[in-house]
Symmetry: C2
Subunit: 153 residues, 2 copies
DNA sequence: TGACATATTCTGCATATCCAGAATATTGAT
DNA sequence: ATCAATATTCTGGATATGCAGAATATGTCA
């Protein structure tokens, strides 16, 4: 049953997880593929994806590329065959690195220019805002960067 | 110059910050209003916004509502006048509460159902994933919830 | 080289989003 | 009650996104 059609529970799980992932505005097909990969024990081909998720193969390809791009999935190049396989990414923090980096850039931007665009209380508010962004970046990176799995609290 | 037209530096800052905010897929007008509010020392009216940001008043209204909805801006109701004023929100973490909450829900969803949708290594990967989400939620909330400004690191 | 399997790109379409300006509603003053 | 000022909602259009299926490209084996 690892590769055949999915069970109702599996389908429900995939859809529910995709619903939550939409909060990150991840496309529907990519979100469902994300949940699918998480529950698979072996690498899956585009045909597996298309069949189990009931989407066209071209969209399976596109969704897989999206996840690969974001670091949510890894592609296994094959020798001796053209078939590509995908597995869940081993570093769940990878997709968030860019966001953390953006936080840092916002902090820098605000810090660097606050004196030339604001005065008085606004300038102080902006200093606080930059500090907040920096603190959030640091907090996220403490969880994201290590690359080792974390234990739940 | 607190209310008149903006200086070139201010315009540039607003646009640069809005560019970064697009990473959170915030609409352009709302993102620019966000930067505008941060640099203002006094509450601004919709007319101020429309004039300084060079957008229609209806969109100024919409953008303000978006920010208010997300907790990025606060509206000041007036007595004796119909005019509404907006100021930058005093809690920069407010917009991220929902995301942190979603992280928690993902952790719960995965924990609750992993046993019914996956076996073996996949089940363990999902346990690790849930732990990661929970850890990230905790890290974010440590910065977000306190409501006091943070100092930069 | 030829035939086949597979991945990828292309095209069209349906949908959602965002914006501007017009139209409408709501509030305060006279 | 009426008017003036303001906020809000309503239309339309332009743009972007995501999807399916067809068409194309690429690699593998005989």
């Amino acid at each position: 049953m690892s590769k055949g059609n999915l069970s109702p529970e599996q389908r429900r799980f995939i859809d529910d997880l995709a619903g939550l992932l939409s909060a990150w505005s991840m496309p529907g097909n990519a979100a469902r593929l994300y949940g699918y990969l998480q529950m698979m024990n072996e690498p899956v081909s585009l045909d597996d994806i298309a069949r189990d998720l009931e989407i066209s193969k071209s969209n399976a390809c596109t969704a897989a590329k999206v996840l690969e791009e974001h670091g949510n999935a890894r592609r296994l190049g094959e020798r001796g065959t053209k078939r590509v396989f995908y597995v869940a990414g081993d570093d769940p923090g990878a997709p968030l690195r860019k966001q953390a980096q953006t936080l840092g850039r916002m902090a820098e931007l605000i810090t660097a220019r606050k004196a030339s665009v604001a005065t008085g209380a606004a300038r102080e508010r902006m200093a606080g805002l930059a500090g907040f962004h920096k603190a959030l970046q640091n907090a996220m990176e403490a969880v994201i960067l290590p690359e080792r799995r974390q234990d739940a609290a």
